[in-house]
C-alpha cells in the first residue's frame, strides 16, 4: 500500500494499492476501524485484480470533501509555515526515541539480561 504515488512508481513495486491520504495514514483514518478494514480489503483485492508487473490500484476512499490537506501533506513538518531557509529536519539522534518514558524503562528491563531476539540490529 502507498500514499506516495511518485515514490512507489520510482521504486517499482511489483503491485501497489494507492491511498490518497496525508502521510502517516496509509491504512486509514484514526479510530475508524470499519473504514480501515474496508481500505485493507480493497487493497488486498489488488493481488487478484492486477495482472501486470508495476500495476497500481487506485483506492476510492477520500480523506475529506476538499483538498486543503494537500497544501501541507507532510503535516507536522513546519517547513511551509516557516518558509524556505529554515532547516525543517528533525535532528538525527542516534539513541532510541521512545514514545513514552515508561517504554524506555520497560525496554531496558527486558534487555538487561541481554538481547531480546525481537529487536534485531538494535542491541
Amino acid at each position: 500500500m502507498t500514499s506516495a504515488l511518485s515514490i512507489t512508481r520510482s521504486v517499482g513495486a511489483p503491485r501497489a494499492a494507492f491511498v490518497d491520504f496525508p502521510l502517516g495514514h496509509t491504512t486509514g483514518k484514526k479510530n475508524e476501524p470499519e473504514m480501515q478494514k474496508r481500505l485493507i480489503k480493497n487493497a488486498l483485492g489488488a493481488f487478484q485484480e492486477l495482472q501486470e508487473p508495476g500495476g497500481i490500484k487506485f483506492l476510492d476512499e477520500r480523506w475529506s470533501d476538499d483538498s486543503a490537506w494537500r497544501e501541507n501533506p507532510m503535516r507536522g513538518r513546519e517547513s511551509k509555515a516557516d518558509g524556505p531557509g529554515d532547516d525543517f529536519r528533525t535532528p538525527r539522534l542516534d539513541t532510541p526515541q521512545y514514545q513514552l518514558p515508561s517504554d524506555k524503562a520497560e525496554a531496558e528491563a527486558q534487555h538487561s539480561q541481554g538481547g531480546c531476539g525481537s529487536c534485531v540490529g538494535a542491541e
Binding site: T2, L23, G28, P33, I40, R89, T95, Y98, D103, V120
Partner: protein, 166 residues
C-alpha cells in the same frame, strides 16, 4: 487558491526536491529502479491466503527498543496478535500524532484479524516485521535490511505479503 475537490496526488519527490533546493542542500537521491518490477502471480483466493505483514512507520511494541533517528536499519519482530494498546511509534519524518493515538493507521494487524474473522482472508503469519523508513542509505536497505526481511518473511511461508510504508 485551493485546488479542485479531488486534486492530484501529492508528488513527494518534487516536494522534497523543492524543499532541499530552498535549503541549499544537494538533491535527495530517490531510488529509481530500472526495468520491469519483479512479479509472481497470486494464485490463491484471498479467502484461503496467508498474509505476511511488514510496516515501515517506526512501530515498536512495549518492551522493545524504540527506533533512533540516524540511519536506523534495525527491525522489530511483533506478534500479529498484538493489541493496539501495546504498540508505539518512533519516526522523525511524518506527523506521528494520529498513529500514536491509533496505530491501526500505519499497522493494520487489527484490520487483518477482523478480515480473517469474517472469512474474507485466510490467515496471517504469526510475526510481523517493522522498521523505520527514514533510512538515508539505499545501499544499507538493499544489501542488509531488505534481504534480512525477505528471509524472515519467507520463513513464515505466506502466500502474499503486504508492505505498509509511510
Amino acid at each position: 487558491m485551493s485546488k479542485s475537490q479531488t486534486g492530484e496526488p501529492v508528488d513527494y519527490i518534487a516536494e522534497t526536491r523543492a524543499t532541499y533546493d530552498a535549503l541549499g542542500f544537494p538533491p535527495y537521491q530517490w531510488v529509481e529502479s530500472e526495468g520491469t518490477p519483479p512479479w509472481s502471480p497470486a494464485e490463491i483466493p484471498l479467502e484461503d491466503a496467508k498474509v505476511a505483514l511488514l510496516a515501515s512507520g517506526g512501530i515498536y511494541r512495549r518492551g522493545q527498543r524504540a527506533f533512533h533517528y540516524k540511519d536506523d536499519a534495525s527491525y522489530r519482530v511483533i506478534e500479529t496478535s498484538v493489541p493496539n494498546e501495546d504498540l508505539r511509534i518512533s519516526h522523525f519524518a511524518y506527523d506521528v500524532s494520529d498513529a500514536r493515538e491509533d496505530p491501526g493507521v500505519v499497522f493494520p494487524a487489527a484490520s487483518l484479524r477482523s478480515l480473517i474473522d469474517e472469512g474474507s482472508l485466510g490467515s496471517m503469519a504469526a510475526e510481523a516485521f517493522t522498521f523505520m523508513g527514514g533510512i538515508y542509505s539505499a545501499r544499507k536497505v538493499r544489501e542488509e535490511l531488505a534481504p534480512a526481511l525477505v528471509e524472515r518473511v519467507v520463513d513464515q511461508r505466506p502466500d502474499i505479503a503486504l508492505l505498509v510504508p509511510v
